[in-house]
Amino acid sequence: MTSETKNKATNEMIQLKGVTKSYDGKITALQGVSFSIKPGELVSIVGRSGAGKSTVVRLLLAEERASKGTINVGGWDITAISHRDVPQFRRQIGVVFQDFKLLPRKTVFENVAFALEVSGEPTKIIREVVPQVLNLVGLSNRLHQYPEQLSGGEQQRASIARALIHRPKLLLADEPTGNLDSINTAEIIDLLKKINDLGTTVVLVTHNRDVVNTLRRRVITLDKGAVISDQAVGRYVL
């Protein structure tokens, strides 16, 4: 962690100020977006397809850089984070995607262990912690299976286990239930609530009306790259 990127001036978990993002200098995906999220919150980001939700996630992961504005995540000013600091930064946030993004030629155990191996965690600890977390997400009997041998819901739980293995302060989930049926969706949302109850800040990107309406938590609504509503106990307004 370098002193330039580590910013202790804010006590927000996430802070976007006037963020604009355009791709190839043409398509404007986000336009002057500002919001902040406090530690321990569970916030849903909703909006139509193409509203810019995934762009927010990619910016928060430092996968893309903002064209304008500043972004702080977990005390890091990632507006101009250097390429070298990115791995260190990512080890402090967990991320879950609609398409799971598991490594196809690694077992469930190895997929989760990988996230610890990259940061040089000792093997002894990995052998201890990985089964615990897989147990937490209900996959203790699937340790040595490959992703393709699991159902969608199970794959998503494996990917959540991988996201949690670092005990991150922040979990970003981009449409984690997009490929799941309603039963699996409910299970995954329950899991995210449980993770949030244990103290992790959760940002849930979704366009599932039922999920948002039953959660009864804060909802930020994006439309055409701009925040059009931000409600403490929100409902799906689109």
């Binding site: 791995p87 260190q88 990512r90 991320v95 490594l103 690694k106 990988f114 990259v118 940061s119 991988r162």
Partner: protein
């Protein structure tokens, strides 16, 4: 650091094992490259050896006047030995020449020798030069007037020799250029094949590279296993491809020996004697080339 290295090696082996078909396909490409480069090298060396053996068999026989004494001939031997490019000068006395002619058994010659009643031959000198081109300068030198009293009927012979030598050395040069050009073109093609094989292998894993980045893997942690894999590929294909080629030479050398003679064309001996250099160089070349290809290919997927 050691733990990370061990993990990187484990990932490499695991990935090769679990991508067995890709491993086999990539390995076969790299192995074939080694085989074909070895074959070209063998042709290059073989032609060189053939040319050398022909050059070795070339020599210039100078027939001296029958009146030339042994000491005069020796002075001439010393003078010729002092010329550049001369490898060896052999003196054949007039008695030996006579003996050789008798043994040739040509009845015409035998009859003439009988008729004359004494040795009609002069001594001769057999001059060997380092290569075919060198004979030309030697011939030029011997055409000078100071030698004309000693060397019999030189002009006609020399001119015949000269044109033959000129043709032969032109031919040898051309063959060498063609083989060199072929080797270069082939090396280039092999390089492209290896480059492409590595790119394809990495292309099939592009999403995995992105995922590794997303869970916080550093660039070197992602690249590491590729470097280990390529080291293994390079080593194994050189060992297997090179070993296979030497086996082929074991099988083929007897035929070469029959055609050209053991001491003239011996590819097996050449490859055995130089195996370390030939295959060491191929290994280093392959490894460096594949690493460069891999780094270029991986870089595209590491940007996020």
């Amino acid at each position: 650091m050691i733990a990370a290295t061990r993990r990187i090696v484990r990932f490499a082996l695991q990935s090769m094992w679990r991508n067995l078909w890709l491993t086999i396909a990539t390995g076969a490409t790299v192995g074939l490259t080694v085989l074909s480069l070895s074959a070209l090298l063998a042709i290059h060396v073989g032609i060189g050896q053939v040319v050398n053996s022909v050059e070795k068999q070339l020599n210039l026989t100078l027939t001296l006047y029958p009146t030339v004494t042994e000491s005069q001939a020796n002075t001439l031997v010393i003078a010729i030995n002092a010329l550049p490019h001369v490898q060896k000068v052999t003196y054949v006395s007039k008695e030996q020449v006579l003996e050789q002619q008798k043994q040739s058994g040509d009845p015409e010659i035998l009859r003439s020798i009988e008729a004359i009643g004494e040795n009609p031959f002069g001594p001769s000198l057999i001059v060997g030069a380092k290569d075919s081109k060198a004979y030309l300068s030697i011939i030029n030198e011997l055409q000078k007037s100071q030698y004309s009293a000693l060397i019999e009927g030189q002009e006609r012979h020399f001119e015949e020799n000269q044109s033959f030598l000129q043709n032969f050395s032109n031919f040898a040069d051309k063959v060498r250029y063609v083989v060199l050009a072929m080797t270069l073109v082939f090396a280039l093609i092999s390089a492209l094949m290896v480059f492409n094989a590595v790119r394809v292998a990495i292309y099939t894993q592009r999403e995995e590279i992105t995922v590794m980045r997303l869970v916080g893997a550093t660039t070197s942690f992602i690249r590491g296993p590729y470097l280990v894999e390529l080291f293994i590929y390079s080593a194994f294909s050189v060992i297997i491809g090179g070993g296979l080629f030497i086996l082929l030479l074991y099988a083929g050398q007897p035929y070469l020996t029959t055609y050209f003679g053991q001491e003239n064309v011996n590819l097996l001996a050449y490859f055995k004697d130089n195996a370390l250099i030939i295959y060491g160089a191929q290994f280093i070349g392959l490894f460096v080339l594949s690493i460069v290809s891999a780094l270029l290919a991986v870089r595209r997927y590491l940007n996020a």
